[in-house]
């Protein structure tokens, strides 16, 4: 059994280059951390080479803060983790070499040993203290998120934006003419004005619109069609072999490399896209789930200044009787179902934006694409208000930011 105090630089030999350097630099700190916490930190360290700049900054800040803390304060901060009781099999795992696998096993063990609530409380307290002690740097610009929903829906009777209306101003006489172009131009302009890596994102549930000249991080459901097909083939081959259960499948998928999915290009973005497909549930099948999860992960991880998330119709879920009839399989698009999914997905996107720094300055726009309904949230907008004014999207954006 290896304990944290037995940790040596050679235990990081298989880590990617920058991760290895980081772990080695903080070796003395790592040796002092409790075993119920250390592998969770190493799980982040081992992925350092593929992390976004903001994630790197957060991890650097966390490590330097912990290293600078007097030992007694560090022990107090991590006491909730140290009090957790681990099983013998956990302590005997290769937790330094395979921290991801350890964290999966730890999660299962915490549930079965009824310690998951204690772990949760320890994690919440830790993050709160860390956030309070290590304030973020000021942003280059206030954040803006734009979500487009309802593509392909000709007519809608369902009230939209119900969860978001109390937060902002509901525009019900929007002039849709030129709306998409105005939004794309706004996103491109912000990318030009604040040219920071991975600070401006465009996620599309269909094929991405062309945005020439803008340095955007782009992810689209359609461009990942070959990767999705490769992944589903892999899952089917695992299922047919009956060689592992669902948890084994999770581990096998998490270990897939972007190259195995046919992804080429920026390694950080490739890893992000591979994670969306291998770790997101439903992202392989429903474009609406893909956009919601991609927006969530982009906000959580890259913490962008600008995010454009455009939902598209997802494939239709066939009822049992149609599937069994089998003569004319209809798995075409379901725009109406996608609208409901996207309306909820937009709410989650706003919630996730609100979890980032300087949330009080952030702005958010949702538009029923091609139609006259939109809602804007931000410091410049009244909350719980409605507007009958005939405005273009460009005009609403100008009011908003």
């Amino acid at each position: 059994m290896m304990l944290p105090r037995d940790l040596k630089a050679e235990h990081f030999a298989k880590y990617p280059l920058e991760a290895r350097q980081l772990a080695t630099r903080y070796l003395a700190l790592l040796q002092e951390l409790p075993l119920s916490f250390l592998p969770l930190l190493l799980r982040e360290v081992i992925q350092y080479d593929w992390k976004f700049p903001s994630e790197r900054r957060d991890l650097d800040r966390q490590l330097s803060y912990l290293a600078a803390l007097p030992e007694i304060e560090r022990r107090r901060m991590l006491a909730g983790f140290a009090e957790l009781k681990l099983s013998a099999s956990l302590t005997q795992m290769d937790w330094s070499g395979s921290p991801l696998r350890f964290s999966e096993e730890l999660t299962a063990f915490l549930w079965t040993s009824h310690q998951i609530d204690s772990f949760r409380a320890a994690a919440v307290a830790y993050v709160e203290k860390l956030d309070a002690a290590t304030p973020k740097e000021p942003l280059a610009a206030a954040r803006l998120a734009i979500v487009l929903i309802g593509q392909g829906v000709a007519e809608n009777q369902r009230p939209l934006f119900r969860k978001l209306r109390p937060q902002g101003t509901y525009f019900k006489q929007v002039d849709p003419q030129g709306g998409l172009q105005a939004i794309l131009e706004m996103v491109a302009r912000r990318a030009r004005e604040h040219p920071l890596p991975f600070a401006h994102w465009y996620i599309d549930g269909g094929a991405a619109e062309n945005l020439a000249g803008a340095d955007l991080s782009r992810v689209s459901y359609q461009s990942l069609a070959p990767a999705r097909a490769a992944l589903l083939d892999r899952v089917r081959s695992i299922a047919q072999a009956h060689s592992m259960g669902p948890e084994g499948v999770v581990t096998a998928l998490a270990q897939m490399q972007p190259s195995q999915l046919g992804l080429r290009g920026d390694p950080v973005l490739n890893r992000f896209q591979a994670d969306l497909l291998t770790q997101g549930s439903g992202t392989q099948v429903f474009s609406t789930t893909f956009v919601q999860w991609a927006a969530r992960e982009a906000l959580r991880r890259a913490q962008p200044l600008t995010l454009l998330a455009r939902f598209a119709p997802r494939q239709r879920e066939q009822p049992m009787n149609e599937l069994l009839a089998g003569t004319h399989p209809n798995n075409g698009p379901d725009p109406q179902g996608a609208l409901i999914d996207a309306d909820m997905g937009a709410y989650y996107t706003w919630l996730n934006q609100q979890r980032l720094s300087e949330a009080e300055k952030a702005s958010f726009l949702i538009w029923f694409e091609g139609h006259s309904e939109a809602l804007a949230i931000g410091p410049a907008m009244d909350r719980g208000a409605e507007s009958d004014q005939r405005l273009s999207l460009a005009q609403i954006l100008n009011k908003l930011v």
């Binding site: 549930w111 992944l231 259960g245 998928l253 549930s281 429903f286 997802r314 049992m320 999914d341």
Partner: protein
């Protein structure tokens, strides 16, 4: 203990919202006063008592059910069933939040700790074993209709004093369907036959067993051809489960019937509209099951029905989760749910606020049916009996 205290507080908040809505929507009365007098004696029921338990093996949150935005999804529960029921607004599940292990915990009255994805029997005796052993009931008197392969072992435990030969028959309609369709192109049915929505990706299918299909077809007195034909007329696996339950009620009239509905767990795919569809279907099917009970001579007037989700789903405010999609955080919303009981002798239109646990179901069934769940860790729900 501090975290447990916080859990109780948060659960109480969840329950408060549910209770306030119910009171305003249905004029339901508060059951706290029940503690001021002795429980009413059980009515003298004609013939032996029967119990039908309906669980949702895929939690539904208050936001999509009892809160104002969600009430449109559960008209049958609200308008037809709750006015006839004693409703527990704060049912806490302190166990593992995976559907098989949690449903097994409901059935044993003890928090099971096995791997949710393992095909293992519960460690503790199930309600079916207590029922059959204590009351000397035949195998045909206790049945489970459950959604997926994972539930195949739920009928009887591995406990050495119970177990073998004392459990319930388990019917897995999806597995029957797989067998019935084995000659077709199963790839077309991948989504329909998915074993567990908790799986990481959306494409696992069930193993088929033609022998099992023919055996069950004989029990249900339904040919394989008719079964397949019927399946072609239904829109979801849960509808098939309810059909199978109806056949069981007509052919074998079991005294203890346990049905687990699963469609709403499609929430794991992240498609909110499909999750809501699942809730609406479960709401309708609960009403249909109640009507079946009232219309079947073997059940009418002597059957108590219990409805409860196994647990909830993650709240929107929990940063570690993704809202309705999963139940991974262990937060108050994912642990807190509700239970309703209705039938002869059950007080109608009553809401009970005090926190109870999902493992309290088995001792309650024991008191109702007259067996002793001696290894259960739950407590009898006095308001029902």
């Amino acid at each position: 203990m501090k975290s447990a205290a916080r859990q109780d507080h948060s659960s109480a908040t969840v329950a408060f919202n549910r209770r306030e809505f119910l009171r305003s929507a249905t004029g339901i009365s508060l059951g706290g006063s029940l503690f001021s007098f002795a429980p009413a004696p059980a009515l003298a029921l004609p013939g032996a008592k029967k119990v039908v338990v309906v669980t949702f093996g895929g939690g539904a949150r208050d936001e999509e059910t009892f809160m104002p935005d969600g009430q449109e999804n559960i008209p049958h529960l609200l308008d037809e069933l709750i006015p006839r029921a004693t409703f527990f607004s704060q049912v806490i599940n302190r166990g593992i939040l995976g559907h098989y292990v949690a449903t097994a915990s409901l059935a044993t009255g003890a928090y099971e700790t096995f791997n949710n994805f393992a095909a293992v029997p519960p460690d503790n005796p199930t309600v079916f074993e207590y029922f059959r052993k204590d009351l000397k009931r035949p195998a045909t008197d206790a049945w489970v209709v459950a959604p997926s392969n994972g539930f195949a072992r739920i009928g009887q435990s591995g406990h050495r004093s119970y177990g073998q030969g004392l459990g319930a028959g388990v019917i897995l309609p999806k597995r029957l369907l797989t067998a019935a369709l084995s000659s077709g192109s199963s790839r077309d049915y991948d989504h329909l036959l998915i074993d567990s929505y908790e799986s990481p990706v959306y494409s696992e299918t069930l193993a088929s067993d033609a022998q099992e299909l023919h055996k069950l077809a004989a029990i249900l007195k339904l040919s394989v051809e008719d079964f397949t034909k019927l399946a072609r007329s239904l829109s979801s696996p849960d509808e098939l489960s309810v059909f199978v339950a109806r056949q069981l009620m007509r052919r074998l009239a079991p005294s203890l019937l346990w049905i687990t509905l699963h469609d709403m767990d499609i929430a794991h795919s992240g498609a909110f509209s499909l999750y809501v569809d699942g809730i609406q279907r479960s709401d309708r099917l609960c009403s249909e099951i109640w009507k079946m009970i009232q219309s079947e001579p073997e059940y009418a007037g002597k059957t108590t029905m219990f409805i409860l989700p196994d647990f909830g789903r993650d709240s929107d405010s929990e940063a570690g989760g993704n809202g309705f999609q999963h139940h991974r955080t262990g937060d108050a919303r994912s642990r807190t749910t509700w239970l309703m009981a209705l039938g002869p002798g059950i007080r109608e239109n009553v809401i009970v606020d005090r926190p109870v646990e999902s493992i309290d179901l088995v001792p309650t069934l024991g008191s109702l049916l007259g067996f002793s769940p001696r290894l259960s860790k739950g407590k009898r729900l006095a308001e029902i009996l």
